[in-house]
Amino acid sequence: MTNPKSAFWTGFRDGAPFILVVAPFGLLFGVVATEAGLNLIETMSMTFLVIAGASQFTALALLQQEAPVFIVLLTALAVNLRMAMYSAALVPHLGAAPLKIRTFLAYCMVDQAFAISFKKYEEMPGMTLEQKVAYYFGAIAPIVPLWYGFSFLGAYAGAAIPPEFSLDFALPICFIALTAPMLRSFPHLVTALVSVILALALAWVPYSLGLIIAAIIAMIVGAETERRMEARTP
């Protein structure tokens, strides 16, 4: 990894396995969006402007429930708040890059690309800024274009799938699939459980506000559980 070009291809190689996650997921977003009544232009605009699968699914689900715009945005943005943490974590590595590059880096910031880039930077502290930027774009290259492409395919094919396939349920299944692997620790499990129980108990609250309340309490309970567990095991 001596020059930016080889750093790019190292990143590309490390990002490539995620094609297996991104392709079916993009496809599914296209299908689910079409099921929800979005046309090709609407689906693709969302995919291009947001490129964050989980929040796109969240927005769709709440739009279908006819939640107010404010609630849709608040909830979908809450799903993306974790990326503020990514942004902060990348500052020591990429913060010195020119503004134009940082803008583009930010636009492309997806979970997988962040995870592999950050890991690489920590493992190889000797990397230059140019190499780090090249590696990041290498990691993005097999991921983001495929997200666009497969969303398009899904939107295109989605219209042809008959209702017998119960695609209404693809959305909740997608969410479960996204969430289950995130529950890697006891505090994460507690968070999910509190979120489910309170969301069901508060389903009567108007404007889908029950979900926001449930999420805030679940987040606090999860963070507090983790803090106490860490305090007990020094």
Binding site: V69, M83, A84, M85, P181, P187
Partner: protein, 108 residues
């Protein structure tokens, strides 16, 4: 049916808001560190929102007019079990939808 004006407002503002979240530290705030308790809470946001969002869709599915549907409930549990055990997003989707189709076929 989703209202088109609402949809476009959501698309544009969600795009902008998501970009600003991504750009926040890298672009605007710079090399300042967040207090540890904020970072800790940020790590839990996605896990706090998503389960609560799906729970009502599973317990009261719109396709059955809100009646509890054994096939959908079991399919959700299958997807969850596979996702937890294999840590695989794709595996969970395939397992969940596969279970749903199988049960719908069996329960006819």
């Amino acid at each position: 049916m989703i209202d088109k004006t609402t949809l476009w407002i959501v698309i544009l503002l969600l795009g902008l808001g998501t970009f600003l979240i991504r750009f926040s530290f890298l672009g605007l705030i710079g090399d300042r560190t967040l207090p540890p308790w904020v970072l800790r809470h940020l790590r839990f946001t996605a896990v706090a929102v998503m389960p609560g969002l799906i729970a009502p869709m599973i317990v009261w599915p719109a396709a059955t007019d809100g009646a509890l549907d054994p096939a959908r409930l079991l399919a959700a549990l299958a997807a969850f079990a596979i996702g937890m055990a294999l840590r695989s997003v794709v595996g969970a989707v395939l397992g969940g939808m596969g279970t749903l189709y199988l049960l719908q076929y069996l329960l006819g």
